[in-house]
């Protein structure tokens, strides 16, 4: 199966990079799935989980990351996911995310609530 190279980078570090067969992400105009050979694309990401179906030396598998805003750009069979903040699902501290969600709900802080929900969704999707 055709592969594409994926780089998931946050503002202060490289979160994940490797080969993948398919990447699912949420842009401002809806979910988008990208496979090898897609036409060059530059889009704005919504907060949401990003699903990467990995291939190559890491083996078949799924990597899920919680991404909070950013960009997706694809060209020359190379996909870059740029996020201000990004966490892999196994880095998400579920207890803390749940606490944050509770606090955000009681404070009526929509941004924080959304962020916590995205992290929990990513953690749940990986299981």
């Amino acid at each position: 199966m055709a592969e594409l190279h994926v780089e998931l980078v946050a503002a202060d570090r490289k979160v994940w990079s490797g080969e993948a067969s398919r990447v699912l992400a949420r842009t401002t105009s809806g979910d988008i799935g990208i496979m090898a050979g897609h036409q060059p694309l530059l889009g704005v990401l919504e907060s949401g989980p990003v699903t990467i179906r990995t291939t190559g030396e890491t083996g078949e598998g799924t990597v899920v990351a919680a991404v909070h805003g950013g960009f997706i750009s694809f060209a020359d069979n190379k996909l870059s996911l740029l996020a201000e903040v990004a966490e892999l699902s196994d880095e998400v501290d579920v207890d803390r995310a749940e606490r944050d969600l509770e606090r955000a709900k009681s404070d009526d802080d929509e941004v924080a609530q959304k962020r916590a929900e995205v992290r929990l969704a990513a953690a749940a999707a990986a299981k």
Partner: protein, 306 residues
């Protein structure tokens, strides 16, 4: 012990104590440089990708947007100066401030008003002492800046960019920071962040002939993408500048503390010599006093026996 020797001994003790402190500061700074350098390296992929995206949109579309278009008559410019909170770093802060002053003078010579944004207590107190107006100031994180700090710095500047100049907005954004070249070399640099000048970053980032950027499909639209990219781009540039400045500051501190330690060594050496000479002089004097006394006694005895 002679009084002179005691004075020298006391000075040696105090210089030794100072040396211990400077030595410790040198080592702390050295370890922080490494950490800061690592952070700079870690932030590079994001900055590179973002720059590539910005270049792609800017060159691949004819959208009129503040990120790419130069205003015909720029009347106000924002200057962001990055200094440190603490001194003891040689000429680090004064070099950065001098570069900012020069840039400000140049911009004012071109007939532009300048809004100063200052990071770091040293820069703030410089401007404060001279009663120069500061649009916005930030401090408390220069040693170890995070992305959130960069966002906080960028927010008012981006806001000013969106305002009309008559209402206190700006047309251009300049940034003055200290570039980390190596452990021994750090240069104050000033760059224009916005409007973007697409030709000058090719000289710094890739020497290879530029490949033609692919024709991108924009999602949702090229304006939408640019609108979203602009603040991120400014933030990431400021973040990079903050990190480089932090690394430069630690390197400058390390060098300043190294020369302080070396000076203390020299001082201790020459003081020890002086103390030894003084001790020897004391001994010589004591001996000559004893000999003189003995001679006088002998002379007196010889006189009485005769």
């Amino acid at each position: 012990m002679g009084a002179q020797v005691r004075v020298y001994k006391r000075r040696i003790r105090s210089v030794t104590a100072t040396k211990k402190i400077t030595k410790a500061m040198e080592m702390i700074a050295a370890s922080r440089v490494v950490k800061a350098q690592r952070q700079v390296a870690a932030s590079t992929p994001y900055a590179d990708e973002l720059t590539r995206a910005v270049t792609a949109v800017a060159s691949g579309s004819d959208v009129q947007h503040p990120i790419t278009t130069e205003v015909e008559n720029p009347t106000r410019a924002a200057v962001l100066l990055i200094t440190s909170d603490r001194g003891l770093a040689g000429g680090y802060n004064s070099n950065a401030i001098k570069a900012a002053e020069k840039l400000t003078a140049r911009l004012q010579g071109e007939g532009k008003g300048v809004a100063s944004y200052v990071v770091g207590r040293k820069g703030i107190s410089y401007y404060g002492f001279r009663n120069q107006p500061i649009a916005e100031s930030f401090s408390g994180f220069t040693d170890n800046p995070t992305y959130a700090d960069a966002k906080a710095v960028a927010a008012p500047i981006i806001e000013a960019l969106e305002l009309e100049t008559s209402e206190g907005g700006v047309d251009e954004i300049h940034i003055v920071y200290t570039e980390f070249v190596s452990m021994m070399t750090q240069n104050p640099v000033q760059k224009r962040l916005l409007p973007l000048s697409l030709d000058d970053d090719s000289s710094t980032e890739d020497e290879a002939p530029k490949e033609v950027p692919p024709l991108y499909d924009f999602e949702p639209s090229s304006e939408g993408v640019l609108d979203a990219l602009l603040p991120r781009y400014v933030e990431s540039r400021i973040y990079n500048a903050l990190l480089q400045s932090a690394a430069s500051k630690h390197a400058a501190t390390r060098r300043a503390m190294k020369s302080a330690t070396d000076n203390a060594d020299d001082l201790i050496k020459s003081l020890t010599r002086l103390a030894n000479a003084a001790r020897q002089a004391d001994i010589t004097q004591e001996i000559s006093e004893i000999v003189g006394g003995a001679n006088a006694l002998a002379d007196a005895n010889a006189g009485s026996e005769r």
